[in-house]
């Protein structure tokens, strides 16, 4: 436990104090704020048009649902933004250690490779969680304009956190294969994009191979129910399996550096 905390603390410090983390966090929150403002303006404009249209027809106006439209759009925006920034958050976790040689210090210590990988992953997830909490303030601020549906918001944030955990594990694995943070980030982004859009190659609702398989592989398809406030054990299992797979591949990659020795 002490070793885990040592690694977690060191990684958290590196993530929160590095200039890159500052730039990533700053840009993320700036874009998120801008996106929220844009969504609010669009929501207002659409509702005014709708009200005018109803008024002209002499009917009592019905407005777009506040939670269904505005809050959901804001949470979707957060999910897309955070996924876009994930490669920048995860790229240095192992690739930088390889580049600077500090991996030699870690690998010649008695530390367990699994603990090392989980410690790094937890620190990155903690950073993402902090970003999420900060970003969630924008939709919460929109609560001034209408009643918030809290369960949907919390389930959405859980879905985004599960998605980021799965993708961070994959980026961590890619970072363990290269000395270059840029290559780790680019490969991570490409893999995430592929998992995001893979269902686009299949007919919606298709079953069997390949359509059903491609739909099952799609991270977007598994995140979407969370953003609608639905929890499905199948979706949770998907993200947990990808996370465990990514972390175990990373551990194996580190073990192979030592030639499989304990």
């Amino acid at each position: 436990m002490n070793v885990f905390l040592t690694i977690f603390r060191r990684e958290t410090r590196a993530l929160f104090l590095s200039p890159l983390a500052g730039v990533v966090g700053g840009f993320f929150l700036l874009l998120n704020g801008a996106l929220c403002w844009f969504n609010l303006m669009e929501y207002q404009r659409f509702n005014i048009q709708l009200a005018l249209s109803y008024r002209m027809q002499g009917v009592e106006p019905v407005f777009l649902d506040f939670n269904e439209v505005l809050i959901r759009q804001s949470l979707e925006g957060i999910s897309l933004l955070i996924l876009g920034f994930l490669p920048l958050i995860g790229m240095n976790l192992l690739a930088e250690e390889r580049r600077t040689g500090t991996l030699e210090l870690l690998m010649t210590s008695p530390v367990n490779e699994g603990l090392l990988v989980v410690g790094k992953w937890c620190a990155a997830q903690f950073y993402v969680l902090c970003l999420l909490v900060a970003a969630a303030l924008s939709p919460l601020f929109l609560g001034l304009y209408g009643p918030l549906h809290w369960p949907t918001i919390l389930i959405s944030l859980l879905g985004i956190l599960l998605t980021s955990g799965a993708f961070l594990a994959l980026i961590l694995f890619l970072g363990s294969l290269t000395h270059s943070s840029i290559i780790a980030a680019a490969a991570g982004f490409a893999l995430m994009l592929l998992l995001w859009i893979v269902s686009g190659f299949a007919t919606p609702g298709a079953r069997g191979f390949p359509g059903g398989f491609l739909n099952a592989l799609s991270a977007m398809r598994h995140l979407d129910p969370f953003l609608r406030g639905l929890i499905d054990t199948g979706d949770i299992t998907y993200f947990l399996v990808v996370t465990v797979l990514g972390l175990d591949l990373t551990r194996r990659s580190l073990v192979s550096l030592r030639g499989g020795g304990g």
């Binding site: 030699e104 020795g261 304990g262």
Partner: protein
């Protein structure tokens, strides 16, 4: 303490280690010498468990390194060649992180940190970020990290590289102080470092051990029944002495001018110097200086490596 048998390693078509065998006893300091690419760093990386060999066995304290890696790594300290550490952390945080990896925490960790800070001359530097430290202090920090958990076996790869003479002297004294207490493998290009800190030396070339032994023994073995003399001499007509006329002289080379200084290798016989002086007198020459020279590690190293290249 350390027993290496049949160790070999290749990087693609390049042979880095070629069936290497050696043993180091407890408390000994072994210097690994060799030209660039001789395989010194590869040996350290294998002995520290960072890199697997292609074949062979390594035993530390009688236990197989590859079967009991984690347990044995707890007993070794390592200063890698480029001394990597985290520049964004302070000296204290680097030490605490390293200690944490070895399972040290609480009062034990604080005591260990205080010990190595004092031992490695880092007092007053604990709060400084590593990126603000000079090369010398970074190297001291690397050594402090290697010593933090009080290991039995220490591997040092070019520990004095880039240090000023004062730092070099301090560091060598510190390494020398481990003799008899800890087993140290020191990898370096600097021959004087091995002479001043090591009990034994192993010269590597192209992944093979070409010479191994304690320093005095190597010097004797290299001389092979001969003795080396420095002679300053001048003949009346300014000609060069015909050294071959003296049967006890094995070789001679001129190393300085006015008066001409020669380095003469003669039979290791107590009468050889007297014969040499008498012969110069017979030639009508003047002998300004005649002194026996010890064969240094540099002579041994150059002779061995050049001999290898000729082969």
């Amino acid at each position: 303490m350390i027993k290496v048998s049949n160790l070999h390693k290749s990087y693609g078509a390049t042979l880095a280690l070629d069936n290497l065998d050696f043993e180091i006893g407890h408390g000994q300091i072994l210097g690994l010498l060799g030209p660039n690419g001789a395989g010194k760093t590869t040996i350290l990386r294998i002995l520290t468990g960072f890199m697997p060999p292609d074949g062979g066995t390594v035993e530390l304290s009688g236990r197989d390194l590859f079967a009991h890696g984690r347990e044995l790594r707890r007993r070794t300290g390592y200063l890698p060649e480029h001394n990597p550490n985290y520049p964004d952390l302070s000296v204290r945080h680097n030490l605490e992180f390293q200690g944490g990896l070895y399972g040290l925490h609480g009062q034990v960790l604080r005591t260990a940190c205080a010990r190595v800070v004092a031992e490695c001359g880092l007092t007053g530097m604990e709060q400084r970020a590593v990126r603000e430290l000079s090369k010398g202090f970074r190297q001291r920090l690397g050594l402090a990290q290697a010593l933090l958990h009080d290991p039995d076996i220490i591997f040092l790869d070019e520990p004095t590289s880039g240090l000023d003479p004062v730092n070099v002297k301090d560091l060598r004294e510190l390494i020398r102080s481990f003799s008899g207490r800890k087993t140290v493998v020191l990898c370096t290009h600097v021959l004087s470092e091995v002479e001043s800190t090591c009990d034994r030396v192993m010269i590597l070339n192209r992944g093979r051990c070409v010479l191994e032994g304690d320093l005095a023994e190597l010097s004797r073995r290299h001389q092979q029944g001969s003795a080396l003399y420095g002679v300053r001499v001048s003949l009346p007509d300014g000609s060069e002495p015909a050294w071959s006329e003296l049967t006890s002289v094995r070789s001679a080379r001129r190393i300085d001018e006015s008066p001409v200084c020669w380095q003469i290798t003669m039979d290791d016989n107590p009468e050889s110097p007297a014969q040499l002086a008498a012969w110069i007198q017979e030639q009508g020459g003047s002998l300004y200086e005649l002194r026996e020279q010890r064969t240094g590690l540099e002579d041994v190293f150059l002779e061995v490596i050049r001999g290898e290249e000729r082969v």
